[in-house]
Amino acid sequence: MSLIQVKDLYKIYQMGNTEVRALDGVSVSIEQNEYVSIMGPSGSGKSTLMNLLGCLDTPTSGEFFMDGTNVATMGDDELAHIRNKKIGFVFQTFNLLPKSTSLRNVELPLIYNGEIKAHERRDMAIRALTRVNLGDRVSHKPNELSGGQRQRVAVARALVNNPAIILADEPTGNLDSKTGEEIMTLFDELHKQGNTIILVTHEEHIAAHASRVVRLLDGKIAVDEATNRGKKVTQ
């Protein structure tokens, strides 16, 4: 079975008398160590799909298996556990806790894991920060770091739990193009190291880093194809 298996996924909002089909029957499978970008204009259902893949939301109907477990019917707390153990989020606006050091920020998912001792948490967080080349910035607070460094702290936080997928939502949207490229290089490396990455973006050159692109339109998958890079790999 695929790492992520989505079948006939619907998300329908009732806005007064009109029905909004944010997702209108989406089926997609993502394999272990795939690097997929999800693209689409605003209103295409891109964000809704990302929220569902990130287990932040539940679908109106459809099947969603993540790593073999059916996520579609889970309750709030079960979803929280899945997010904690299987998903690493990277957000456009970094979303670090401003008053906490890099180390504390990266430790956070481990704290909510609840089964990891304090000194292990510390070691794991330092290892994750070292992986993103911030081993010397563990005690800095977000406002003492540059935008690129902040996003790298966020990537370290996404990695620390050893998640099944890394879900990045416009990770370069708040960065200048040079720093953005640095972050994308970091994702490329993580992919090479065996991580599964899902990238949500509206920029073609960012999406080009992935080996596969899924294009959404009006809540449906319009295109699902290998990128040039993906084609090179398969050739």
Binding site: N51, A80, N95, K99, Y112, I116
Partner: protein
Amino acid sequence: MKSFFWENLRIALSELWSHKTRSILTGTGIVIGIIAVSLMSTLINGVDGLFEESMKFLGRGNLYVEKWPWFGDEDWWTLRNRPRIELDMADEIKERSQYAMVVAAERGRSANLSYNELSAENIYIHGVTSNYPEVSTVDVEYGRFFTESEDRTGAQVVLLGSEVAKTLFPQGNPVDKMIFAGSKRFRVIGVLAEMGKFMGAFSNDTQVIIPLATFNKIFHGPWGRRSITVKVPEHLVEDAKEELRGVVRVLRGLKPEEKDNFAINQQNAFRQSYQGIKLAIGGTGMIITALSLLVGGIGIANIMFVSVKERTREIGVRKALGATRSQIQGQFLIEAMVITASGGLVGLIISTLISMAISEFLFPANMSFGVAFMAIALSAGVGLFAGLAPARKGAKLDPIEALRYE
């Protein structure tokens, strides 16, 4: 679970630290509430100790036949016009009462004393019968009490209270020295052991004791206290009181329709009236406490709602990273409880200082461990209660909307 607690405590402390002014203002209501409750309990404990200590001076089985009741709301003029107590009734009472074990009589008024150039002013002169030690707590430290024959003959002998002895005889033994009370010479035959104050105010150590007959011989006129003390078995004191009332009525020749023109006082009167005072103090304290804790709690709830609103995005992040509802709820509950418990701690420290000052200058009032524990538990409880609604609100936030919140 333990790691969440420490994490939450850490978050709470750093949040409070980064909003110092807000935290202090918010906690003030709790500080006042805790000062009110802990100080009130400490004071009541202190006053209780003082009261019981004082009650020892009035034996449990003692009935005091006097003109004035110790407590009550009878018309002052009626009381004023009562005939004075004839102290020679004492022997008749002893004869007629079945319960009376000892009947002692006493009078008192104040006068100035002197020895050589030293003087003691406004000293309470207590004229008592020779059986007085049996109905009171006086204890002779040096020398002796006077005898029955000294009482009968009106011998000019005196026992000094410990303070009076210190004033008139700063160095040296007063026994067998001659002192003046007004214009009369008295021989000191003993010094009383230190007794302390009655209700923290009236010292029993600034009195002197002389035989009643001597008192009657020297001091004429209607002034001063007159009292007959009847000692009866403690467990029969209520029956004895009724019997005594009848005996005194007969001795005074009162007709059945006439009201008592005397009072029979006892320790119980003090106890009842003290209970009333204690209830009033306690009740006032409870009202102040309840009000300030309620207002304080509303303040905490309000500030916690603000805090949840301000940190919507943080809640979103925490939820995305895997925080469950109960973990978010716990975070804000602990934060509220840390505010109130810190307020409680500050209140406790302030009231400990106040009670130390009271102990130093007024009467013993020590903060007990129980009171301290109750104060902290109470303040933490207010935090739990006040934090509940805001914490639930935060816990119920939808992570998607919370992450999008600006």
